[in-house]
Symmetry: none
């Protein structure tokens, strides 16, 4: 049994019974009480429970996200720093979770799109998608893959690239990249 397994089961028992006892847990999992102590210490610093003498009790879980409109491409929830909005000629506004989906949508909808806004990844403010600078395929996966992030300044994009890698592209080259990626790569789970 893995430490992570044990941690999960401890949290389950905690939720079920409202309290867990160290002596009991050590027998259940056939490990020493010291190991349970260390498990509880870690879960406590991660904010999952509160240690009391001889065991642990639950703490309130973080507030759950309220239901929000989802990405019109992949149906995950858009976040302020990555989202894009596409304004169509018929007045409809489409919301995308990230530039990956937003730019794919842009290609898909073609002339129907009157204007497109991305969000600056650092600050979250809306920027024109045409004027934005994009970082494609950095070393961290964010939202959909291949990861595409938008920046209001080219210098911000280059700074991000300095730490996280990837290519700094304008919108035309980013669209070109996504087109090639869509043709070359086999479909992945969260690709759209």
């Amino acid at each position: 049994m893995l430490p992570a397994d044990r941690h999960q089961q401890i949290l389950n028992r905690l939720q079920e019974h409202g309290i867990v006892h160290i002596h009991e847990l050590s027998q259940t999992f056939s490990v020493s009480e010291m190991t349970i102590h260390r498990d509880l210490d870690q879960l406590e610093t991660e904010g999952h429970l509160r240690k009391v003498r001889g065991g642990a009790v639950p703490i309130p879980a973080p507030a759950l996200a309220s239901p929000v409109e989802t990405c019109f491409m992949c149906h995950t929830a858009p976040r302020s720093q990555t989202q894009m909005t596409l304004h169509l000629s018929n007045g409809v506004v489409q919301r995308a979770c990230c530039p990956h989906c937003g730019l794919h949508g842009l290609m898909m909808l073609g002339d129907q799109v009157v204007s497109a806004f991305a969000s600056d990844f650092l600050r979250g403010n809306a920027i024109n998608a045409q004027a934005a600078t994009y970082v494609v395929e950095p070393a961290v996966a964010i939202c959909c893959t291949p990861t595409v992030l938008a920046f209001q300044n080219k210098s911000d994009a280059e700074r991000f690239q300095k730490g996280f890698g990837g290519q700094v592209l304008d919108i035309a080259r980013t669209l070109q990249f996504l087109n090639q990626a869509a043709h070359l790569k086999s479909h992945r789970k969260k690709e759209m």
Copy 2:
């Protein structure tokens, strides 16, 4: 069997069981544990899972900012990638726009805070404020000043610092920094 097949099956098993064990996977697919390690490394950098000792677990869903509520310190609107939540002993949940406000609130409220969550600046998922790594005063101003950003991995924080500068600190040193910064402006002192 192709690596891509194995990756897909690993993800399926992960979704089904909530955890996968390296030893078990290596036997199932008749490959060495090193190969499974490499599979999990790749899936981790692609953002599909998180490695733990002996196996891997799914990625928690990102937290969402509800548009209405404002920061309890500065009353600006919190965004998903920067927000913090403080859970108080009386059950109240306080929401802050960014670690700058959240950590100031943490100092102010002291023992009343049962647990504190920050959001990973890159992905927006909730992380424990105690275990997070912070970048203080980078070359870009984001939300309140002095700018403080939270990261789930120290390596992410260091990568960000590589491009944008600033200091990489743990929570204790970040609080210390904020205290000193506050003293330069006003001469009020808070003990912890």
